[in-house]
């Protein structure tokens, strides 16, 4: 009866944050190394693919009929096989959350507070995430509404103040990469964030019933994609494709170049704030999805009791997930896409097929 609910607008904001969060950190560099100065074409291509993926997810959501992913798995495949499917899905969410947590930790230790141990950065961040998940999806949705104008303002400030440093020559000659290079580049962004949006299938049952929900998801993912496009093309214009692909955090280096009247320098903190806010929302959604999913998996009524124990596991997982940046870059380039495709596309595809058969069977018996 007293089901917490968020409005379609809040859901759209969450989708925007989800799309930008962590992708803004890790996407520009590998795309630029694959597609060189035509990286922005790759981004456009992946937004196109992403759009069709989101349409597919919306299709799955419509056939879920108010159930969450985990509930639907049990509904379609029965208690045991359904649990097996859910297990893979939940493992995907949990591992993804740990990786997102590690992203922000890596960034903080390399750029902002190098002396602080990684463990404590993770601990503190996750603590706030747990507070968010404890307070529930309504608070998260409302906070998204509070932070959205700030993020847009900071973003606009970044774009306007960096205009003097842009150089169109960095993009020339146009379209001279091969189509394979461009497709290679686009796969990065299809894996992160679009295939990760499968997590939203756990959250979307909490959105108030409204025809605008699907609309919000689609528009939100497109706006988020637009931000990623802007940030990639900004890196290319300011740094050029070589520097973009060499730096771990090219957007951060872009912000370092801001210089207003010779006085306002060192404004890279702005980009750090954008990252923290967006990653916070992404991690909160993922964490919320996994804790609610695990609660449904184990038939626990209240997911809140899982928040702390899951967090302890996640701290450890995020620390042991990979040894160093080089390993991680390989992982993002080679391993992540197949992993994300199987769990972010094939799994929901199976579920959707199952749901179609089940729904039809139910309709026939009635």
């Amino acid at each position: 009866m007293n089901q917490p609910a968020i409005s379609p607008r809040q859901f759209m904001f969450i989708v925007i944050f989800f799309t930008i969060g962590s992708s803004i950190l890790i996407v520009p560099s590998p795309i630029a190394s694959a597609a060189k100065h035509d990286a922005w074409v790759s981004v456009l291509l992946s937004i196109l693919v992403g759009a069709s993926l989101v349409l597919f997810y919306i299709l799955v959501w419509k056939s879920l009929k108010g159930k969450s992913f985990v509930q639907a798995c049990t509904f379609v495949f029965g208690a045991w096989l359904g649990r097996l499917f859910s297990f893979f899905y939940l493992a995907f969410l949990y591992i993804l959350s740990a990786l997102v947590l590690r992203n922000i930790g890596d960034f903080m230790t390399t750029q902002i507070i190098p002396e602080t141990p990684l463990t404590f950065i993770h601990l503190f961040f996750l603590l706030v995430v747990i507070v968010g998940c404890y307070l529930g999806v309504e608070s998260i949705g409302r906070s998204a509404e509070i932070f959205m104008p700030w993020m847009i303002l900071l973003f606009l400030f970044l774009i306007f103040s960096i205009t003097p440093q842009m150089n169109m020559d960095h993009l020339r000659p146009f379209f001279d990469s091969t189509s394979k290079e461009i497709i290679d580049g686009s796969t990065v962004m299809i894996g992160t964030p679009y295939l990760e949006m499968v997590a939203l299938l756990m959250v979307i049952p909490y959105v108030k019933e409204s025809p605008k929900t699907a609309h919000g998801w689609f528009i939100g993912s497109m706006i988020g994609g637009g931000f990623l496009f802007l940030i990639t093309i900004l890196s290319l214009l300011v740094l050029g494709s070589d520097l973009t692909s060499l730096n771990a955090y090219p957007t951060y280096n872009v912000a370092e170049k801001i210089n207003i009247a010779g006085f306002m320098e060192g404004l890279e903190i702005i980009i750090a704030i954008i990252w923290m806010i967006t990653i916070f929302f992404k991690l909160t959604v993922l964490y919320y999805a996994s804790s609610v999913g695990i609660a449904q998996f184990l038939n626990i009524d209240n997911h809140r009791i899982l928040l702390l124990p899951l967090g302890m596991g996640m701290i450890v997982l995020s620390l042991v997930a990979y040894p160093d940046m080089a390993y991680y870059e390989n992982f993002v380039a080679d391993t992540w896409l197949p992993y994300a495709v199987t769990h972010g596309f094939l799994l929901p595809l199976f579920l959707w097929g199952g749901l179609q058969i089940k729904n039809r069977a139910q309709k026939n018996t009635l």
Partner: protein, 512 residues
Amino acid sequence: MENYSENSRSPLTTPKEQPHPLFFSLRENVAHIQEQLGFSSDLAVRWVMINETACAFLFIDGLVDKDTIHDYIMSSLMLDMPVKASSSDLLYDRIKTVSLPVGELLETDDFRPLFSSLLSGETILLLENENRALMANTRGWQDRGVQETTSEGVIRGPKESFNETLRTNTALLRRKIKNPKLRMDGKTIGRLSQTDIAVVYIEGLAEEQVVKEVHQRLDQIDVDSIFESGYIEEYIQDAQYSPFPTIYYSERPDAIAEGIAKGRIAIVIDGTPDVLLVPALFIHFFQSSEDYYQRADIGSLLRLLRLVCFTIALFTPSLYIAFITFHQEMIPPTLLVSLAAQRDGVPFPAFFEALIMELTFEILREAGVRLPKPVGSAVSIVGALVLGQSAVQAGLVSPAMVIVVAITAISSFVFPSYNIAIPIRMLRFVFMTLAATFGLYGIILGLIAMVLHLCSLQSFGVPYMSPLAPMIPKDQKDVLLRLPHWKLFTKSAALTKDYKGSKHGGTKEKQS
């Protein structure tokens, strides 16, 4: 007496609790009253004969208006009583209907209402061979009158403020809203203090659900005594463990009337000039009633200024600590050089420097409130000169730190409501600690946690951060900005449901 020495929350039984009918004998009645009041020295009993029937007037000295008693009760009964009544029964009716020229006259045959009206300043008239008593409203005690507000001053707008008398306060509200729909539901709270409370709202405008909720929460209060609205506030507020206030209070009748006219509900409590207003949203604490009296442009800018000050008061010390301790590279080089030169020789880390100065300021501030007025100037000299200038000259703190503390302190006094500055005062130290341990990372995470907390709060069923989150586009014209009055003609959708589309300022035709 042992009833309330053991546990203050345990039920307290006073003589008034059980029904107790009046006696027929006048002497017995008076004796019972005197006994119950312990032969209190301020209980005045006047024995008289009216038409050869023994009567007694009883009132509490100091709570009554003696002129009323002399001119309208005693003289009309003792001097002007024209015809003899044949029996005491007839005499009673005669007094009640003909010869007692007072506005409010009630009768009772029970001691409970008799005691409560006697103790709130009414005059009791008892007759021989009569088990009924007449209670005439002669309330009139010393109060300080309607004076200029001391804690919430404005440049433009009414200067009057509430005082400590419930009726004066409700009258001040009535005078501002002359509408028959203005409701004042009375209540008595406090087993011992029997404090009168009025719940004031406009029927049909305030959301019924919220009115019901207010009544319900007030009825649940079980306490011995209420002396200030703070007691009520703690009992009925939504978030017991939040630093942020979820109930607005003001001593300005125009601010409260403005709230009532927008569909909020005021709770007036006898004995305090501070009137509560619910539901109170985060944004209400940044809105002064003066915003509506000034022109729209400056009104809007002042609101934005207050939000900027909120940020300054909350974050300046922690940002200073974070930048000095962790992120020197983000300070422009010339500024960094001058900051470093100032800090040269300061023995403390920035965090301790800030902590010492902020604590000093809090001490000065608290002392400033308590100090007797003649000593006040001495403290400001000590505070400003000795602590500020000398601490810098002695090399204990850097001048930049003094500036930071000063701007923080001044910013925290900008808000029209005093109680929104309280969470700032407390959270400032939390943010300073976060800045000292995690730098900007800590501050931003703290900010996110704070916003999450704010978003989870509610005030009487209304989300605390609305109409910002959840966003209500219709209401935005009177939130951060204050659009001109002719644009404000719809009621806030966050606060009201039934009255949509009504003209701002209530129903016009009722106001002559």
